[in-house]
Symmetry: none
Subunit: 218 residues, 2 copies
């Protein structure tokens, strides 16, 4: 997954959410660097800001297509009038999203674009007997479905994306709740408790005293 965006703050935020959804993310800030990266990295999809300086997103996409590269592209546009330009010309895109967007929305669209272009592979996470279908937003304990809220799902998904890796409460807050969150670190505990209650004995969340939590089979 390649993200091309010249505003570092936005780029970081987007990367954060995509990584949380299990994508390997590489960042670029200019059009020509993007083209080089696309050639060398062969990403599964490209998130492309239209308003790049010098070589803009549309031109990058056109160059890719002209070179025979059909990697899925998702455009990010700043304003509605840019949308109109998109509408007329660049049908080479697979989807677009308008700023300001919620990172969650972006991640959803990326998955949709990938599913459309690659024939319906939905990404499934599994740790122990717990299974998470990210595309369908469903959770299972063995064969029983467990109903999770949005936050619970995001938290569990983030942990399960990196099994056995330990995350601090602060890490989890910024990753799952976002940078602008005002929630206290105790809130993480509450949701962990909630998850454990819902999964019972098969709960995959391990406490690492003095450090944080991790998703683990045992």
């Amino acid at each position: 997954m390649l993200v091309v965006e010249d505003e570092p703050a936005i780029a970081e935020l987007v990367a954060l959410y995509l990584r949380r959804d299990g994508f390997g993310v590489h960042l670029e800030s200019s059009g020509d660097a993007a083209l080089a990266a696309i050639r060398s990295l062969s990403p599964v999809a490209v998130v492309l800001d239209v308003g790049l300086p010098v070589l803009n997103g549309i031109e990058v996409c056109r160059a890719m297509r002209a070179a025979g590269d059909w990697t899925p592209v998702l455009f990010v546009t700043a304003r509605d009038d840019e949308v109109d330009r998109l509408l007329g010309l660049e049908l080479g895109a697979d989807d677009y999203i308008t700023k300001p967007f919620s990172p969650r929305e972006l991640a959803l669209r990326v998955r949709t674009v990938l599913r459309r272009s690659s024939g319906g592979v939905s990404d499934v996470l599994q740790v122990g007997s717990v299974r998470l279908d990210v595309g369908e937003r469903r959770a299972f304990a063995g064969s029983d479905e467990v109903s999770l809220t949005s936050t619970e799902f995001g938290l569990l998904a983030y942990l399960m994306k990196s099994p056995r890796q330990v995350f601090s409460r602060e890490q989890l807050l910024s990753a799952v709740w976002g940078y602008s969150s005002v929630a206290g670190t105790r809130t993480v505990d509450v949701h962990v408790a909630q998850l454990r209650a819902k999964f019972g004995a098969s709960s995959p969340i391990r406490t690492v005293r003095g450090v944080g939590y991790s998703a683990d089979a045992s």
Copy 2:
């Protein structure tokens, strides 16, 4: 394969994608030239822009049908209300797609149209006990027919094309209402409520709080 489109940029792009899919593509930019080309080339299918100057797409199709030519036609329309006109006129259209469209989507539909016209298979979507005949635009709950408006049908069909996949309200608006739609996201809710009311207990629409909706059996 004949593509009739008066905007050169779009025509070129569409041709690019169709050729990539192995079709031989011929381009025309006006209605009367299209009719001549159809007679002389006998294409396997025609991609026809509704908004052509002078002789528009609908008239071209009507002329073809009147002349006994039942070559599959895929309409490209700029707006949803044109869709209604298409359906109301009950032309021999085999499918339609709204601008702006993803070229991938177009290629997909062309293949579907060709398959249908050669094998006579009408595509039917089914989730749980709800069945949607896309070709005839009819909906059924079990064996009972349910009467849907065109917006309701479009929404339900889009959801059922990707069962269990979750779509945000924004995604649904883009896909069903069109990119240039100005409708608010709550409008989606209203139509979901309509569909649920019409299908009652067998409603296939699942709410995913904080994310959106999906079509689902359970």
